[in-house]
């Protein structure tokens, strides 16, 4: 679950404690200085908002999917909580005909929160399945609209089902004596929320979800099923949000449809965005900053021109300092941050990880070098009889290759020869009209891309797909996490040693998107090797490289493959590279395999010379 106990458990716990103390301490300080009831209420509201925003962060931050629906989940939880927690006398006044005999039911607030969370989670599962079906991924528009629809449905139902909800006007309110007194439940849940959010972020599921957020396709190629991780993130975040929402209802003492609608969705989103949606520290910072900004705006609007005793008199500002100024501030903050700093103040800076790197990790010693494996396991990749046509155009005719464990097999051919289509078939992106491919007789045709890599066929990408916001180490760690679960029988090598072998040790803490081209290529190779593959499929690994870089790449590919005992299937149009690296070569031309054999045999073949070097070579 957690690759490194110190980094992923101990420090997040310490970090959560500090974060909690800073937020709560800051709030206490503020209310002590002002010393009035409204300051106290403001701080309480801020603490509850923090719970809900942290809950939303678990989903949006880790998956990159924008959700308005969490406030809809909050509405469900809020109503369930209210209906269970308030006294039957109060219910007789407000909702005397509640269905399911709810009018006479009463449970303690704590039990009501648990019921609210449980009911909401059921809804979350249903919505989560819908999101998965819509192919939700980072930035996915359809997913966002589904969540928006959820927000509207809950609002609509709350308005038009007065028997249960008290409808639009009255709502349901508590007897005075039952409102939330003391902050203990809020503080407890807030700390728990921080802890859950941070531990999830460091957990296996959290890291895989973030990998998919950064690059869905690459994550799937590394054996990650993003939909599963998104569901985990959704359920956890809904638990936190519905707990927080119940407290919100408890504290206010009543619930109305509009309390959990557009305005609150906007408020919580702005808080999350301003601080930095990819980090829990950012979410907490955003809550503090926006609470302060809104309070300031509210005072400016209400008191005319006085802030904390300082008079800002002057008629010229009349047109700005008006009532409702704080809602404009929200919108302006949202657009301003989107334009100038879409990742928020902190981007994905996380306090406990910074702490770990500065004081917790100590000096890192260079890991041990890896030895190349002596014995190569008997394994074979076979693709045969593959036919693909697009409309009337036959892209592949009866194409097939065989590759054995430890062997490097090259595929070469001019543009339009069908190389890319062939790669797309054996990576599961194009469905062939006929033909099969397998590793050791395990049929792989028709499998999802994450199943292919779990079965041992791991690919790299022609146009480099790294997890840009993750560090070099984290990139490899993601693959290693998947490998330790799905590739247990194979050579799952140490993450640090792999970095050393790939020449990336000195760059281990840098983000992948900051790497230069050569290092990025090496990282992609190391990441694929970390999957402990039976076969690595390298798609044009030298594209964009100079001749000398291509030659160094030959050694690196050989070495990494031998380190994990993998066979290599490499596609390239660079004749020098392919003949230099391959044990055997398949030549594709016009969708057919026209020749195969050792580099020397292939080079001597007249058809190859004709196809590859032009017909002049024959005459």
């Amino acid at each position: 679950m957690f690759p490194n106990a110190r980094r992923d458990i101990a420090f997040p716990i310490v970090g959560s404690i500090v974060l909690f103390l800073v937020l709560f301490g800051g709030g206490l300080l503020y209310q002590t200085i002002l010393g009035n009831g409204s300051a106290e209420r403001l701080v309480t509201t801020m603490l509850i908002d923090a719970i809900i925003v942290i809950g939303i962060q678990i989903y949006i931050g880790n998956t990159g999917i924008l959700s308005f629906g969490h406030i809809g989940f909050g509405a469900i939880a809020g109503y369930v909580f209210a209906v269970y927690a308030i006294s039957p006398e109060e219910k007789l006044k407000r909702i005397p005909t509640a269905p399911f005999g709810l009018t006479d039911t009463q449970v303690s607030p704590t039990v009501a929160i648990l019921i609210a969370v449980a009911v909401t989670v059921v809804f979350a599962v249903i919505v989560g399945i819908g999101l998965a079906r819509s192919g939700a991924q980072s930035g996915s528009v359809a997913a966002t609209v589904i969540t928006l629809a959820l927000l509207f449905v809950t609002h609509e139902v709350a308005k038009s089902w007065p028997e249960l909800t008290g409808g639009n006007r009255g709502g349901i309110s508590f007897g005075i004596g039952e409102s939330l007194k003391g902050r203990l439940p809020i503080l407890g849940l807030l700390f728990a929320a921080m802890l859950v959010a941070r531990l999830y972020g460091q957990s296996r599921s959290g890291k895989l979800a973030v990998a998919a957020r950064e690059d869905n396709l690459a994550a799937r190629a590394m054996g990650v099923n993003p939909l599963v991780q998104q569901m985990v993130a959704l359920l956890l975040s809904v638990v936190v949000v519905s707990g927080g929402s119940s407290l919100r209802v408890w504290q206010i003492g009543s619930i109305l449809p509009d309390r959990f609608f557009f305005d609150y969705a906007m408020l919580t989103l702005v808080m999350l965005i301003v601080g930095g949606r990819n980090s829990v520290t950012g979410a907490v910072l955003g809550v503090a900053v926006m609470t302060a900004a809104r309070e300031l705006a509210r005072r400016l609007g209400q008191d005319g021109f006085e802030v904390f005793g300082i008079g800002l008199d002057g008629a010229p500002l009349d047109w700005v300092f008006r009532e409702n100024l704080n809602s404009v501030v929200l919108g302006l903050a949202m657009v301003a941050f989107m334009i100038w700093r879409p990742t928020g103040i902190l981007e994905d800076w996380e306090f406990d990880q910074w702490l770990y790197k500065t004081v917790g990790r100590g000096d890192e010693v260079e890991p041990e070098r890896l030895t190349e494996l002596d014995s190569v396991s008997e394994t074979a990749f076979v693709a045969s009889g593959i036919n693909v046509s697009f409309g009337g155009f036959k892209a592949l005719t009866d194409a097939g290759i065989t590759a054995n464990g430890g062997e490097i097999v090259g595929i070469i051919g001019p543009n339009g020869a069908g190389k890319t289509t062939f790669v797309n078939v054996i990576t599961g992106m194009v469905e062939p009209q006929s033909g099969v491919f397998s590793i050791d007789e395990e049929n792989l045709s028709g499998k999802a891309s994450f199943d292919l890599s779990r079965s041992g066929l791991v690919r790299t990408f022609q146009n480099l797909r790294l997890f840009g916001a993750l560090t070099v180490r984290e990139n490899i760690e993601v693959a290693s996490l998947v490998a330790s679960e799905h590739r247990a029988g194979r050579a799952v090598r140490d993450v640090d040693s792999l970095m050393l072998e790939a020449g990336l040790w000195d760059h281990r803490d840098r983000r992948a998107r900051e790497l230069d081209y050569g290092n990025s290529r090496r990282l992609e190779l190391a990441r694929a090797a970390a999957m402990a593959p039976s076969f690595m499929l390298l798609d044009e690994p030298t594209s964009g490289m100079s001749d000398s870089e291509s030659i160094t790449m030959i050694e690196q590919v050989r070495h990494m493959a031998a380190t994990v005992g993998a066979g290599v299937i490499v596609i390239d149009h660079d004749l020098g590279f392919i003949t230099g690296i391959s044990d055997r070569i398949y030549v594709f031309d016009q969708g057919e395999v026209i020749a195969d054999g050792t580099p020397e045999e292939v080079q001597a073949n007249p058809y190859v010379q004709a196809a590859y070097l032009g017909s002049a070579a024959i005459t």
Partner: protein, 295 residues
């Protein structure tokens, strides 16, 4: 039978407005991959102008062009001030930018005009009906359907037969290639926003007439219907957007007439649930546009 026919006409009338809104959403989405949550503001802003105009003695004859022109100008202005700065940004960023714009506009009206409902008179013929046999057809529905048909025909002509339409379609298919082929990206994006605003303005005329009042949050419903209709049809498909709008309008009207009396209030909820089911079984919408990710 008569009731069904009546509902169909009613649904088509509603659906036509949605179709115009959805088409505007789809035009912008196709070109810059921006799902415009601020589209409804192209009705809120003209809505307040309508209120202002009637207080200053205007009539519907002059208000109708005011609505259309102000919607186009608002659309261009919003593009200039906000969306032009996030061109090419991640989808997440663009989604929230448009959401933020929606919020600023509605909060601005709240700030300067207040939350109170601002009424204005509907046109005199609004409630007129024509009786055909046992049918009572609302003149308003007929006008909406007729105007929408003409507007859609004109839009089709614009997209298929003019240089601007060609540039727009090319840019929607592949923005970078279109630019390399000499399509001016600024003018094609501005053109798309102008067209989107024009369509919203025409839809806005009917929407504003039907509502008879305006509030700061008046844009939420048209935005939601437009966005949902575009999604039902299949995002990126212009024909899909029109189809989605009509389907949404028909679904609303037919559901309302079929649901038992007690739960008619929940029509909107049921429509949403049906949309959710549609996404589950047909994630790309009715006319899905194949999206192939390049590797």
């Amino acid at each position: 039978m008569a009731e069904l026919l009546q509902n169909l006409i009613d649904g088509l009338g509603r659906g036509s407005i949605y179709a115009l809104l959805a088409l505007g959403v789809a035009v912008v989405f196709g070109i810059m991959h921006l799902l415009n949550f601020a589209h409804g503001e192209l009705i809120t802003i003209p809505g307040y102008l309508t209120y202002w105009a009637f207080n200053n003695g205007w009539s519907w004859w002059t208000v109708v062009p005011l609505i259309i022109v102000s919607a186009v100008i608002s659309s261009l202005l919003i593009e200039r001030v906000a969306f032009s700065r996030v061109r090419g940004a991640k989808d997440f960023t663009m989604l929230l930018t448009s959401f933020g714009v929606h919020f600023i506009v509605s909060a601005g009206f709240l700030l300067y005009i207040g939350a109170a409902v601002k009424p204005y008179p509907r046109p005199g013929w609004f409630a007129d009906t024509i009786s055909v046999g046992s049918l009572n057809i609302e003149v308003f529905d007929l006008v909406v359907i007729g105007v929408t048909a003409v507007v859609l025909a004109a839009t089709t002509w614009l997209l298929q037969r003019t240089m601007f339409g060609l540039a727009l379609r090319a840019a929607a298919a592949d923005f970078d290639t279109a630019r390399l082929m000499g399509v001016n990206s600024d003018s094609v994006i501005r053109g798309a926003f102008a067209l989107s605003g024009l369509l919203a303005g025409i839809a806005g005329v009917f929407w504003i007439m039907r509502e008879g009042q305006v509030t700061p949050t008046a844009g939420i419903n048209p935005m939601l219907q437009g966005v949902l209709a575009a999604l039902i049809g299949g995002l990126g498909s212009l024909r899909g957007a029109v189809l989605g709008g009509l389907v949404l309008g028909l679904a609303e009207v037919l559901l309302r007439s079929w649901l038992p009396v007690g739960i008619q209030n929940l029509t909107t909820g049921f429509v949403f649930v049906m949309i959710a089911l549609l996404f589950i079984f047909r994630p790309g919408g009715l006319l899905s546009v194949p999206q192939v990710e390049r590797v």
